[in-house]
Amino acid sequence: MSAAIKPVDWGRIHERMRQSQVELRNGLADDPRHVQKIYRLRAARLARPEVPLASAAAESSILVFLVNSERYAVELQQIIEVIAHPNITFLPGSPRELCGVINVRGEIRPVWDTALLLGLAEQTGRPPAYVLLLRRPSRPCGLSVDQVLQIRTPQPTDWQTPSTPSPFAKAITSDLITLLETQALLREEPLG
């Protein structure tokens, strides 16, 4: 141990600790400065012009989600709601693609394994993270997804037709988000 040992500046340490304590106390105890800051932020936000979220072509809004780390999308109009961490009851003897059923406000709805429907991967056995409740002619059914990302409103120029025609892919955005054709996807449901 040839290097000289720096003497510890306990004074400075105590100073810093005292300061942080003060900050904490201020932060927790509704420091007027903080409160004023927040009010100003809120006012600024309020003042912000309205973002025409659903103004243009609300019909073309899509919900982007992840299945097996791939980004897919479904038209917003087709979705009733998004359910997080559902309690899916498995039906014995049901087809492979059927994860199970869930109870939505007293109604039993089927949940399909999107990955299997798309033919992407093996059955994981994991319960899906989210379920998209889709509007169907017969009755709403759910699609299992891993993660819900955002609502986008792509311009018509963003869309590209896939080179290789696929029954499930309606279109692809420029950043490779596959818009799913739910009709085709859910046609094979034996339950209808």
């Binding site: 936000r45 309205e50 973002v51 979220l53 659903a54 103004s55 609300a58 019909e59 809004s61 919900l63 917003l76 109009q77 979705i79 009733i80 709601e81 998004v82 997080a84 819900v148 609502i151």
Partner: protein, 559 residues
């Protein structure tokens, strides 16, 4: 002569001895004869004389008694007192008379005995005569006795008139008796004379015969001794001659062993002696030869020894010088050792101080460890508190997510509602904003929480490390303690070792002194050796000379 010398001498001596003995015996015989004659005379004649004297005396007494009787009776008769009893006196007289008779008988017996035993005829006849006279005397006595009895009777009866006539008769008888006694005396005297003459003649005869025998014995003795001497000295002279020749050195001859007596034996032994002497002479000659050879070898070796001694002296000098050097270095070592010992003492003191310091360090390390453990405790409890924050964050996060979902669903509803849903879309977007804010906040808080946790972990790690360092510091302090103790121990050992070195050096010094002394002694010894070598040389030369002499001495023996 075949007889041995000893026997010869013995024979000669026995001859002389026998002659002497014979002579002596003869003399003794003659002497006894003379003695016999003398005793014959002295015993018998003088005995006889004594008896006769006794008888005379007795007669005198008796006559006196008879007179007394008469006197006493007369007194009695006159009735005068003071006289003795006549009867008593008469009794006494009778006793005397009996005694006289006995005496005469004795004389007769003696005379008879003498006559029988007398060696001389003449004396025998003389005694016969005496016997006759004695018998006559006895008769006279008897007569006298009877007459006295008559007288006593007369006295007793008081017939004094007849007493006078009787007295005259008694006188006559007395005279007769006395005459007989005188005749006896005379006879005795004649006997004595005869005896004397006979003794003289016997003596003469004895003397002459003894002288003759003596002469004869002397002559015989001389002759025999001459013979013996001749028989001895002759051969002895010849033998002496032979011995003389041997003495001269002639060991070639041998003595004649013809005889079978002592001289023959002597010759035999002498021959053996000569043979032995010859052997000795031969051996001595051989020995002198080897002695000469040996002395020359000794001379050679002494010369070598002398050379070696001078080398030894040189070596001693060198050794002395070396010893002095070593001794000096030894004292230097001793000095150094003392210095080292004092230095070791100082080091030991320093070691003790070091131990104290190490002890202090150990205590400090302990304190640090305790502090570090306290810090770790605090930090861990802090960590546990952050855990609760994490739970809260999870709740907030959940709220954020729910809000997000709500916003999503709201947007979906708004989209589904179409135009009517436009205002709701604003609300939905606000909700979404809020949800995003919450999420952001939670993300930030999460990040900060993560940092805090990391910081806590780091603190715990650092504390652990600090404890470990304190531990290791303590171990090092212990190691230092051990090392210092060992060092102290080693120093103690070193001190002891140095003390031993000092002692050893002192011993060494003593040893060196002894060695120096020993070397000096060696030097002296080598000087002495040199001297003694010279003496040895001298002695060897002497021995050589002696050897030569011996050779010369032995040369004269002809072998």
């Amino acid at each position: 002569m075949k007889m041995r010398i000893g026997s010869r001498i013995l024979a000669g001596f026995s001859l002389v001895l026998s002659l002497t003995v014979g002579l002596g015996w003869y003399g003794l015989a003659k002497l006894s004869e003379v003695n016999g004659r003398t005793s014959d005379v002295t015993e018998h004649d003088f005995l006889f004389l004594a008896l006769l004297q006794d008888i005379s005396h007795n007669q005198t007494q008796m006559r006196t008694l008879a007179g007394k009787v008469m006197t006493a009776s007369l007194l009695r008769r006159s009735r005068l007192t003071g006289g003795e009893d006549p009867l008593l006196l008469q009794g006494l007289w009778r006793q005397g008379s009996e005694r006289a008779i006995r005496l005469l008988d004795q004389a007769d017996a003696a005379a008879a005995e003498t006559e029988r035993a007398s060696p001389s005829v003449q004396r025998g006849s003389q005694y016969r005569k005496m016997r006759q006279t004695i018998r006559e005397t006895q008769d006279a006595l008897k007569d006298l006795g009877a007459d006295n009895e008559v007288q006593f009777g007369l006295i007793n009866r008081g017939e004094w008139e007849q007493l006078a006539a009787q007295t005259a008769r008694q006188d006559q008888l007395r005279q007769v008796f006395d005459g007989k006694i005188a005749a006896l005396v005379q006879l005795i005297r004649e006997q004595v004379e005869i005896g004397k003459a006979e003794m003289a003649s016997v003596y003469e005869e004895a003397r002459t015969s003894t002288l003759i025998a003596l002469a004869a014995a002397v002559l015989l003795g001389v002759l025999s001794s001459l013979v013996i001497q001749r028989s001895i000295t002759g051969p002895l002279c010849r033998f002496m001659e032979f011995v003389g020749r041997v003495g001269q050195g002639d060991l070639t001859q041998q003595a004649p062993v013809a005889r079978q007596d002592e001289l023959g034996d002597l010759a035999g032994s002498f021959n053996q002696m000569v043979a032995g002497l010859k052997d000795v002479a031969i051996q001595t000659r051989e020995a002198t030869e080897s002695l000469n050879a040996a002395t020359s070898e000794i001379l050679a070796s002494t010369q070598q020894q002398a050379a070696g001694t001078s080398e030894q002296a040189a070596a001693v000098q060198q050794t002395n010088a070396t010893m002095a050097e070593i001794s000096q270095s030894g004292s230097q070592i001793s000095e150094r050792a003392k210095q080292v010992a004092s230095a070791a003492e100082a080091t030991s003191a320093a070691g003790n101080a070091g131990l104290h310091a190490v002890l202090g360090t150990t205590r400090t390390m302990e304190a640090i460890r305790e502090q570090a453990e306290a810090v770790a405790e605090n930090v861990v409890s802090l960590s546990e508190k952050t855990q609760s924050i994490g739970e809260i964050i999870a709740t907030v996060n959940d709220v954020a997510e729910q809000s997000h979902l709500l916003a999503l669903n709201a947007a979906i509803e708004a989209s589904a509602a179409g135009d009517q849903g436009r205002r709701f879309a604003v609300v939905a977007s606000e909700i979404k904003n809020l949800a995003d804010q919450s999420k952001e906040a939670t993300v930030q808080v999460r990040a900060i929480l993560g940092d805090i946790q990391k910081g806590i972990n780091t603190s715990v790690m650092l504390t652990e490390e600090a404890v470990k360092r304190a531990e290791s510091g303590k171990q090092q302090a212990d190691a230092a303690d051990q090392a210092i103790r060992q060092l102290s121990g080693n120093i103690q050992q070193s001190v002891q070792a140095f003390q031993q070195i000092v002692a050893g050096a002192n011993q060494q010094q003593i040893g060196f002194d002894q060695v120096t002394q020993a070397i000096r002694n060696i030097g002296q010894a080598s000087e002495q050796t040199a001297n003694s070598t010279k003496q040895l040389e001298q002695a060897a030369a002497n021995v050589n000379a002696l050897g030569q002499q011996l050779r010369k001495a032995v040369e004269r023996y002809r072998l």
